[in-house]
Each structure stands twice: as structure tokens, then as C-alpha cells.
């Protein structure tokens, strides 16, 4: 029930974007990938979810290399929310969310007809089911695609783990929807054992919702561990070049501030 990566390296035209990296991600946890711009966060996410192929090294899901998974089978247990989600034609919100069920078309769930409405409710887009995707704001669109990836891995496979990969899922969202979305992912991880891997820019969101953070800097993993231990003011100074300190909110949770 894990996603393991061995000696993962990625290079484009001789330029190494990601230096050899090994580790294991566990289903049921939220892993945040953080780092400055161009650190290789999206590259690592792409390699882990299989949308990109490593120059060297392998990624294995539940013991089987990603490349060895039949295409359709992989799609039934891992969904990816990309940064760029342009839809070519003006599909209705419901149609877009229903595309998440594409991998299940040959073996539909017993609750197949309920999944899309439920996924829309979970992502807070049920009220716009019949609106055109092109007529929505950026934040609304992001939530529609979140509903789509939820629908894609709505039910656990008969065996093995299920995974959600989120590439900067909160970039277009307002404050409340940022926490709503990550809370939803957090609940799926804890309650349903889904493995969540997210590229996150807001370190306080990582601090609040992640079980583990991977800190990347110029293609190197410079820190890896529980956020409260890893995300120190010293690390922020070293990696992001900002002066930072840690405070404690009235409810006792740690919080980072920086200038």
C-alpha cells in the first residue's frame, strides 16, 4: 500500500531538473511537496503520478513499476489534478466531473449514478452542475476539476491503494476554499486511506494539513519529515531566503510568519 521511488532522476537536454531521489510514500498520508519556484516540485509530482517518465530510476505503485501498470488500471486508482486544466469545448460542469468516471466505463460501480453528484457536493460545485465550464471563474473551475479527480478515485479498488495527486490545488482559490479543499483531501487520507501528494506553495497550509513535507531546492531534496519538525525558521531562511519566525495561534497550532 505504498508508492516507492528509487534513484529518481529527471533531465531535459542534459540539464538535470531533479537529482537522484529515493523514498516511500504511504497511502493514508498527506505528503506536501514544497520549495521555491523552479525547484522541481511539479516535475517530482509528474514522475510520481506517471505523467512524466524518469530519465533514470523507477516509481512503483504497490510493488509494481508504474510503466508496467496497464493504462486503464492505473487510471482507476490514481487521479491527478494538474495546474493547467483548459477544457477545449464548453462542457457543462456535470459533464466535466463525469469525465472522471471514464476509466470505470467498462466496469461501472454499483453506485455509479450517485458518484458524480456526490463528488460535486464534496467539492462545493453541485449548484453549478448545468453551467458551462467556460462561464466559470478560475476558482470555480479549479473546484470542478477537483470534483472530477474525486469522482475518478471515488471508490477503493478491490486491492491495493488509491492516490490523489494535486499540483498547486489552491492556487486559484479564495481562503475558505483553500482550507476546504485541503481539509477534504486530509479527510480522504485519514478516513479512507487515500494517499495524497500535493505541491503546495503556502507553507502554513502544509504545516496544517500535511503529515509529511518534502522540501525541494534546485532539484535536490533538502528536507523530508513531519512539517512541524521540518519547516523551521532556519530552513525558510536557507531555502527561500526570507527571515522567518514561528508563532503559536490561539488554538495552539504552530504558524510561520516571514518578511
Amino acid at each position: 500500500m505504498a508508492l516507492s521511488y528509487q534513484n529518481l532522476r529527471f533531465a531535459v537536454r542534459g540539464r538535470t531538473l531533479l537529482h537522484p531521489l529515493s523514498g516511500v510514500l504511504v497511502a493514508g498520508q498527506v505528503t506536501a511537496i514544497v520549495g521555491p519556484n523552479g525547484a522541481g516540485k511539479s516535475t517530482l509530482l509528474g514522475l510520481l503520478c506517471g505523467s512524466q517518465t524518469a530519465t533514470q530510476g523507477t516509481v512503483a505503485l504497490d510493488g509494481l513499476a508504474l510503466s508496467a501498470w496497464p493504462h486503464g488500471h492505473l487510471a482507476r486508482r490514481r487521479a491527478v489534478l494538474a495546474q493547467d486544466n483548459a477544457v477545449a469545448f464548453n462542457h457543462s460542469v456535470q459533464e466535466v466531473v463525469a469525465l472522471g468516471r471514464y476509466p470505470h466505463r467498462l466496469c461501472p460501480s454499483r453506485q455509479e449514478n450517485d458518484i458524480v453528484p456526490h463528488a460535486m457536493t464534496h467539492a462545493g460545485v453541485a449548484g453549478m452542475a448545468h453551467r458551462g465550464i467556460h462561464h466559470l471563474s478560475g476558482g470555480e473551475r479549479a473546484r470542478v476539476h477537483f470534483a472530477r479527480v474525486l469522482a475518478q478515485v471515488w471508490e477503493a479498488p478491490e486491492q491495493g491503494s488509491r492516490w490523489l495527486f494535486l499540483d498547486e490545488p489552491t492556487a486559484a482559490l479564495d481562503l475558505r476554499h483553500q482550507t476546504d479543499l485541503l481539509q477534504r483531501a486530509r479527510d480522504w487520507a485519514t478516513g479512507q486511506g487515500v494517499g495524497v501528494v500535493a505541491v503546495v506553495h503556502d507553507l502554513n497550509l502544509a504545516l496544517r494539513f500535511a503529515d509529511r513535507v518534502l522540501v525541494l531546492e534546485q532539484g535536490h531534496c533538502v528536507a523530508d519529515g513531519p512539517p512541524a519538525q521540518v519547516l523551521t525558521p532556519e530552513l525558510l531562511t536557507e531555502v527561500w531566503g526570507v527571515e522567518a519566525w514561528r508563532i503559536t495561534t490561539p488554538d495552539g497550532a504552530p504558524r510561520l510568519q516571514w518578511v
Binding site: 506517471g50 492505473l74 487510471a75 469545448f89 462542457h91 459533464e95 469525465l99 476509466p103 452542475a129 475518478q152
Partner: protein, 363 residues
């Protein structure tokens, strides 16, 4: 009339879309079958069809023309093959257009983009202008099929070149296919220009007739071939609907959903090429139908390919039949070129549609 609830899109349901397009096609069928240089009575159509089917008209199809009443002769030898060719051409062009728009993820795409029409045109021009000089034995071997077969082969060959160019490099995809198609179309256009420059007056006339498109050359054998290939193309295209919907999210996302994007592209391009190649080889170039039919359907019913593909086929068939009926009747006894009519009627209609919907077709 539409399913506009909670501020949703004003769209027709799938069943209403099919009902409407089927009704339009039925109307067009009756019009196309009855109108023309020899007008047939609509009441007679069913009788004629029934008599034809039950075989009471002895000698039908055996060339024993004298035994048949005049209206039956007109219907079975001229009108019916022409109408069937129109249905096949319209349906095939429209579905090919919808496929190309889906593959290119662009509502402006057209079957011509993959080079099939210009390839067919170039091959037809080569056959008309240089065929007799270069390969005098060809017509003897292929008879009246020479032009049709060479045009079909030309369309397929040029599509294959475009496809091969766009997939020569790993990772190169539809963007490359689009650009390769534009480049190859330009080369084919140059060849066509050169050939029409070299052509004699008589060759120029037959070349022009071909380039403007017509259902006039409908022979039963060619009609049967085109209908057969278009049915095959439809059967190949319809199962691609859900994958094309997924491709709306982009190649990367579609691939993550389990779509074999490359295979989908191959199947769509091959299907469109076979349909458009066969149609163009028989009728010449009929423009605009492949662009406009899917557009109209998308506008009234939305972009779901499960509705779009079949409804475009119905609408495309109706459009070609209506345009052909107009081509035969507007300037009687002369016949206007069909390709001119489809563009002449299609263009303003399309503009009206864009205005009426505030350009929603774009978004």
C-alpha cells in the same frame, strides 16, 4: 424546449436533438427525391420504393429501361442514387469534421486539415491533366473508376504523409499535425495551380467541375462503395465518443484518465480520411459541411461527442441534400455546382447563427 434550469446552459436534450435532426433529414429526403428537372410526386415515393423493394418492377437494374414507367426510371436510375450519395457524403463529411475538431480540440478544424481533400484533388488533377500522357494504360485497366480510385489513393497518401511527418519525432502531436497539414496543403495547392495552368480548355473544364463538387456523377456502383465506406467510418467513429470527450481536457489529462491518445488519433484520422477520401473521390470537393454541421449541433446540444457525432451525421446529410436540391432547381435546367451552393448557403447561415448566439459557438 431546452434544459435550462438553475441558470444552466440553454441546451436541447439528446433525444430532442436526435428527433429534430432526424425530422430535418426526413424533410430533406422527400424534397431531394421529388424536386429536380423531372419533378416527382411525393405520394408516389413510397409506392415506388415499395415496388422497387418487392421486385415487381421486372428488369430493374438490368438496364431494360423501356419496360419501366418514366417516373420509376427517373427515381431509380437518377434520383435515388443521387439522394443516397448525398446522405452518405453529408453524414461522412460532418462526422469527419466532428472527429477532426475533437482531435485538434478546436472548433475550427476541418477534415481538409489532414490533407485528404487536397490530396484527392491533386491526384484527380494529375489524372485529368497528365494521366493520358504519362500512364495511358491506366484508364484501360480501371475504366470509369480511374478518376475515383486515383483521387481516393491521393487523399489517403497525402494524409499518410501528414500523419507520418507529425509523428516522426517522439512527443510531437496534433499541433505538429496541424502545421504539417497546412504545409502539405500549400504544396498540393501549388501543384493544383500548376496543373490547371498546364491544362487544355477541355481538361480545365472537367477539373473545375470536379473541384466545385457535384452529386451528378452518382452511379449505383460508386454510390454503393461510398455508402459502404461511410457506414464503416460511422461504425468506427461512434465508439470513440467518450474518449474524444476526455480529450477535451487535453492530451496529458486524457492520458491520465486512461485514454490511449495516440491510438485515438490514429483511429480518428484514418476514419476521417477513409470517409472524406471516398466522398471527395466521387463527388469532388464539397466544402463547409464538415465545419458547420458539428458546429450547429454543438451550439444547440452541447459538445458531448456521444450526441455530437450521430447528430452531426444526420444534420450533415440533411444539409447536403437541401443544398443539392437547391443546386438542381435554382437555375433550371442548368445545374449549379454543389460546392458553390454549400458555401453560399452555409456561410451566411453560419454568420447569422454566430450573431444570434452572441458568438457562443466559440466558447
Amino acid at each position: 424546449m431546452s434544459t435550462a434550469f438553475d441558470g444552466g446552459l440553454p441546451r436541447l436534450t439528446a433525444s430532442r436533438t436526435f428527433t429534430l435532426t432526424a425530422l430535418l433529414l426526413a424533410t430533406a429526403l422527400v424534397l431531394a427525391a421529388t424536386q429536380g428537372a423531372y419533378a416527382l410526386d411525393a405520394d408516389r415515393l413510397l409506392d415506388l420504393l415499395w415496388e422497387g423493394l418487392s421486385g415487381t418492377l421486372a428488369g430493374l437494374g438490368h438496364g431494360v429501361a423501356g419496360e419501366l414507367p418514366v417516373d420509376a426510371q427517373v427515381f431509380f436510375n437518377i434520383r435515388l442514387p443521387r439522394v443516397l450519395l448525398g446522405v452518405a457524403a453529408g453524414a461522412g463529411l460532418a462526422v469527419a469534421g466532428a472527429l477532426m475538431q475533437g482531435i485538434f480540440r478546436n472548433p475550427l478544424a476541418d477534415p481538409g486539415l489532414i490533407g485528404v481533400s487536397s490530396g484527392a484533388a491533386l491526384a484527380a488533377a494529375l489524372t485529368i491533366v497528365l494521366g493520358a500522357a504519362w500512364w495511358p494504360d491506366l484508364p484501360r485497366a480501371l475504366g470509369s473508376w480511374t478518376l475515383v480510385l486515383s483521387a481516393f489513393a491521393g487523399g489517403m497518401a497525402v494524409t499518410a504523409v501528414v500523419y507520418a511527418l507529425s509523428h516522426a519525432e517522439a512527443g510531437a502531436r496534433v499541433g505538429m499535425m496541424l502545421l504539417a497539414g497546412i504545409a502539405i496543403n500549400a504544396v498540393a495547392g501549388a501543384g493544383l495551380g500548376l496543373l490547371s495552368y498546364l491544362a487544355t480548355d477541355e481538361q480545365l473544364r472537367s477539373l473545375q467541375f470536379w473541384l466545385l463538387g457535384s452529386l451528378g456523377g452518382a452511379r449505383w456502383s460508386a454510390v454503393a462503395l461510398v455508402c459502404g465506406l461511410v457506414v464503416v467510418a460511422l461504425a468506427l467513429a461512434l465508439p470513440l465518443a467518450r474518449s474524444l470527450n476526455a480529450l477535451s481536457l487535453g492530451e496529458a489529462q486524457a492520458s491520465l484518465l486512461g485514454v490511449d491518445v495516440r491510438r485515438l488519433q490514429q483511429r480518428a484520422v484514418l476514419t476521417a480520411a477513409v470517409a472524406v477520401g471516398a466522398i471527395t473521390a466521387t463527388t469532388g470537393i464539397i466544402g463547409f459541411v464538415g465545419l458547420i454541421a458539428p458546429h450547429v449541433v454543438r451550439l444547440v446540444a452541447g459538445p458531448d461527442h456521444r450526441v455530437l457525432l450521430p447528430a452531426s451525421a444526420l444534420l450533415g446529410a440533411a444539409l447536403v441534400l437541401l443544398a443539392d436540391a437547391a443546386a438542381r432547381t435554382l437555375a433550371q435546367p442548368a445545374e449549379l455546382p454543389l460546392g458553390v451552393l454549400t458555401a453560399l448557403l452555409g456561410g451566411p447561415f453560419f454568420l447569422l447563427l454566430l450573431r444570434a448566439t452572441g458568438g457562443r459557438a466559440w466558447r
